[in-house]
Amino acid sequence: MSSSSQPPYEDPRDESAPPDEPRVGVDSWVATHEGRREQAAGISGRIRDWWRRTPPAGRLLVFLIPAIIFPLVSNSGNIYRYGILTLIYALLAYGLTIVVGFAGLLDLGYIAFFGFGAYAYGYLASQHTGHHWHAEIALPVVVVASAVLGIILGSPSLRLLGDYLAIVTLFFGQAFVIFVNNANRIDFPFFGQVDLTGGAQGLEGVDPLNFFGYKVSTNKGYFYVAVIMLVVIVTMLHLVNHSRTGRAWRALREDPLAAEVLSIPVNRLKILAFAFGAAVAGLIGCLYSSIQTLDAPGDYSVGLLITIYAIVILGGAGSLSGVIIAALIVNGVPELLRNPSNGRYVFYVGLILVLWYFLKTWQRLLIVLGGTLVFGWVLYGISSLVWDRGTSGRPVVDPETGSNWLSTAISHWMLTPTDRTQIANWAFFGLVILIMIATLVRGWWQVVVLIPTVWIAAFAWENLLFTPDQINGPTRLLLLGTVLVVLMNARPQGLFGTRQVEIV
């Protein structure tokens, strides 16, 4: 063996002179490469950098302070639509973070635990059953029961990995919905027919949360209860994540075999993760059921499951701060879009952001935007001379909000034909073709193609998507989907997620 030959690289063990500044190409320079690249990424990089240096308690405060102020400056309806719903989504996502983000188990039956918690609370405290347990007793009982259910479901799932676990848990989730739909006429021996869940009508008259005789009755009260739960759960998750249990969860997510061989009882920890996730979901179920005063079977369906998964993935699986931001986006964007003039802002701002991301330079962005404006005016001018009907339809203005500067500006720029629907359908088709061409061509051709593409996108928006019958239905979801696709493309690892490396 030629041990005498000089190694062709710097020996990092050369302890004689550790340089203050790592030299280019040397071990520690390579190691900090990722950090430098993130830092260089402009404003968002600086924000992330600042965020990383903020201690966990400080991060929590960043959310807590606006959360405390919000109900004081908002009305009851907005507290419910923006505040409570977002918090419930976030709380559910935190429970799922344990199972999916930490332990890496694809649990598609998660919502059933949420439903179980809701129905269990409804059973313990409602007019339906006549029991009226106080929350300080009911909540712990439901939490423990949910955890036990988690263990029961988790145990047979131990040998199942990946897709198989997903199938079995999905079945459990569906079975739960069918069960609550039909559990109003179960014949028990000795007891006779018992109505457990109220069937398809749901379990009605659920009590408000009653802590030691103090009843939470307003949306503001529930909002603060949810905030407290959030703080407790986030703190708990942070501490667990940095304990031996959390490390073991993450280890088994990364490599179950290596974890097992390194003294980690993989099976027990999987069940523990299931039980923990179920307990959190059960607790949130109690909160939800007392806010709704009704447990309806339809609330615990696959749709909610997908929403919660979207939040966990968008936030960055395993990231605690990402969940809140993602919940705000997933709940907030569709709620904002309920107001049509907001929808218009969201569309145009989103369009510009997408273009910026796509074109990467300010110069090209300005050229495309300017070109689109000129293109629109020219078309408008020509049309008003030769084709009256092309400009006779007004852009949709919501009767409640009336016209604002944006709608006025657009009505002098965009073609709005009287018989718009058919033309707009063809425009939509043309838009898809143009987008395909725009992704195929390169350089200045791309800029040239993008100008009519952006215009026709705006045309389709004003004439097809932004009509009264569309805005509250498909358009809202279409926009939410677009927002999600853009965000996921921009940060595939999630907003606050760290890049997961599989094989290097």
């Binding site: 063990r13 390579v30 501490l239 304990s243 974890a259 097992e260 061989v261 390194l262």
Partner: protein, 274 residues
């Protein structure tokens, strides 16, 4: 733990007639093997000889079809892998199995699960035992990592494992296995994919680990490494032991040459020698 090299030392690890088949293929065939305390034993053999299966059997990843595996005189046959690790067997993997998205320090701390007792509730409530254990295993992880000089210390502690070079990943895996404080360390091809300088270093490192009192069973293909470290060499072919003894004895054994080169090749090699 101190190493003693007397002839009367009892075997630390012993395999008695261990057999393992996958379907019709007998991968390990009535294998008897022992490793004494303080020894470095190398297992060699051509690809498919059953070396890694042997490691999987010892660490409990597979259960033997027949035979018995004893650690310090007690049977560990059929026990779950994590319990076997707690009894004092640690291993590395041929194709690295690090927790790539965890930091270097966390990789080692994760291996301390079996050496800590705090429940999840103690961790949430930050009770004294949880905090004390956390401090202990952090210190132990850092101490284990500093075994490799500056390579895995300092700024490296908080780097994700995927940012490490290949050689450093191998080192981290060894550090992680050593941190479980085993009686016997199983290294599966520690020098695979290393350049000559790194291979040389690994050889010295294994010697250093032995001086720390570890018993080592190692699979290795690089004969320079095997020669440099082994007290005893065991050659496997088709799941059976074909030679055992000092490096020179095994390396010159006709059967071993045959297993590596085939009968014809062995004859040619013999002709060249003469």
């Amino acid at each position: 733990m101190s190493s003693s090299d007397g002839p009367d030392t009892k075997p630390l690890l012993e395999l008695r007639g261990v057999t393992k088949s996958f379907g019709g293929l007998r991968v390990i065939d009535h294998l008897d093997l022992h490793v004494d305390e303080g020894e470095i034993v190398s297992v060699i053999g051509p690809n498919g000889a059953g070396k890694t299966t042997l490691f999987n059997l010892i660490t409990g990843v597979y259960t033997p079809d027949a035979g018995e595996i004893l650690l310090g005189g007690e049977s560990i046959t059929g026990i779950a892998p994590h319990k076997i690790t707690n009894r004092g067997i640690a291993r590395t993997f041929q194709n690295l199995r690090l927790f790539l998205n965890m930091t270097v320090r966390e990789n080692v701390m994760a291996s301390q699960y079996g050496r800590t007792r705090a429940t999840v509730f103690e961790s949430i409530l930050l009770l004294p035992r949880a905090r004390r254990e956390e401090k202990e295993i952090k210190a132990r992880a850092e101490e284990r990592l500093s075994f490799f000089g500056q390579r895995l210390t300092g700024y490296r502690w908080d780097q994700p494992a995927y940012s490490l070079s290949y050689a450093n990943r191998r080192r981290l895996e060894i550090a992680r296995a050593m941190a479980t404080q085993p009686q016997i360390l199983l290294l599966d091809e520690p020098a695979a994919g290393m350049n000559p300088a790194e291979t040389h270093e690994i050889t010295e490192l294994i010697g250093e680990i032995r001086r720390d009192g570890y018993t080592i069973l190692v699979i290795e293909h690089d004969m320079h490494v095997v020669e440099g470290i082994s007290d005893r060499v065991i050659a496997l072919d088709h799941g059976a032991k074909i030679a055992e003894g000092s490096f020179d004895t095994v390396a010159t054994s006709e059967q071993v040459v045959e297993a590596y080169l085939g009968i014809k090749g062995a004859k040619e090699a013999a002709a060249e020698d003469e």
